[in-house]
Symmetry: C2
Subunit: 291 residues, 2 copies
């Protein structure tokens, strides 16, 4: 585990510690932690921190708070998305999903509680730089809210006519864009030039996820596969087939690094993004080969 | 409709306008508005604005933003609380509840979207006074989140052992406390002395609500009655009977005005709170008499 990984984990642990949650209903406290620990790859907060450092950020506490907020919002979306009225997914990160373990009511509240907690950690982290709070709040909210964030993305699934690109940008791309933009904003840089990088990584991630869903091994990825087809969900693989999806994924991964704006840590960030991309591209392509 | 009422409504309309939600899934946009308009009594935002004015607030835009955020969070909690996994309530404010009109999935997303929107409106309203954002965010989040806000209050319903006072303070009192405290914070006053007033009004409101639930007319109050008993919910009426609950309600209404801290508009606020309290006390006691 790198120092950055440790920083993210310890920030998340602090936010959901006994001290922070003192007096809360005990099962809710358990469910909140169950939804966040042990984590997945923490891709979004690590990306956000990497951008903050590449921007020469002197305020890594602010960046860590923003990264933790993004991860809490991501976890909240997974908990709600797994509920019976959406994906009805029984498994997440290799264990029963929150509603399977704690029931639908507590799962719903766990998601709500994590969303609110995300804003609390953001405000607390900005105590040393209150001038950065409003910008971070806006950038992160755009990634999760309405009109173009995760909530909108999930709501496209309730429409009869779904614009695939908008759906996927909202459901996946928006929070990746929030991650890169928040990293920049936490360091006092202009977030806007960082949008394209996040969106491109998000698109690549979406291709990888669709390929995994269509041909992955549930034991490896820790959640059920075949969901998109079973739930008649829009999916790149369903749209253009596995071969073309894999080609697009390769293309996006090559492109992504070109979208890194000029910044003090440009080269290091480029290397890191290439290494990360390679990792999930290999995972997806191995699954495709095995299918 | 007073000028304050108009200000709250127009702020809510702006937040959920076509312009603000451009590009979002159309049914989600409909559901978001359906959840907020036409409103109930808007008790919490009006209380918050009244406190802001009593504190001599010169920044009523900030106060209006905080008030709108509080109302959006309140509406979100109603939408989620009405879902089948909680109260399974078919009626709200005299019309089908959001999940009855739009389905469970969109109702869940509507609640999530309203929570995020609340933070967005707060940040936007604080553009003229960025120094007030962090304080308002903290005060309002305490009213809705974990450990002591609405989410915690609803989660107590999932525990076998429920401390009644804590449950009701979290489920109702906390957002009333947030309303009075946010009004003060929006005006640059110390919010802490305003907690007790909000909590006391919240307790009175809870007694009135329990009395209405046990003996009200669903056509008058716009939602089903008898829920507490049917769902085995903790309730003041079930705990101490109708007569004692009514006595407690009278007592709290008398007390509330005494908790107004010294401030420029103290007398006007006192009158306003007494008039409002009389209104809902009469409503509850008439129902009790009719039962």
């Amino acid at each position: 585990m790198t120092k950055i990984d440790q920083r993210i984990e310890s920030m998340l642990e602090e936010v959901l510690s006994d001290a922070a949650l003192k007096g809360a209903p005990p099962r809710l406290v358990e469910a909140l932690r169950y939804a966040v620990f042990p984590g997945g790859a923490r891709v979004r907060p690590r990306l956000s921190m990497a951008v903050a450092m590449a921007c020469g950020g002197d305020e890594l506490d602010v960046a860590a708070g923003a990264a933790a907020a993004i991860e809490l919002l991501h976890c909240a979306s997974l908990v709600h998305d797994d509920l019976p009225c959406f994906d009805n997914a029984e498994l997440r990160r290799g264990k029963p999903s929150v509603h399977m373990a704690y029931g639908d009511a507590l799962a719903l509240l766990t998601g709500d509680g994590l969303i609110i907690r995300a804003y609390q950690v953001l405000a607390t982290a900005c105590q040393s730089r209150p001038d950065r709070l409003a910008g971070l709040l806006a950038v992160i909210s755009n990634g999760v809210g309405v009109p173009g964030g995760i909530v909108a993305g999930q709501a496209w699934e309730c429409e009869s006519d779904v614009p695939l690109a908008e759906y996927q940008r909202a459901k996946t791309g928006a929070l990746f864009a929030a991650a890169t933009m928040a990293g920049a904003a936490a360091s006092g840089a202009d977030p806007e030039p960082w949008r394209k990088l996040g969106e491109t990584i998000g698109r690549a991630y979406q291709y990888a996820d669709d390929i995994l869903d269509s041909s992955g091994d549930p034991m490896v990825i820790g959640k059920p596969v075949g969901n998109d087809a079973a739930l008649d969900r829009p999916s790149m693989v369903r749209e253009m087939g596995q071969r073309e999806s894999a080609e697009q994924l390769r293309q996006l991964v090559r492109e992504a690094a070109d979208y890194i704006p000029a910044c003090p840590g440009e080269m290091a960030l480029k290397k890191l993004i290439e290494a990360e991309s390679d990792h999930f591209m290999q995972l997806a392509l191995n699954c495709r080969a095995a299918a």
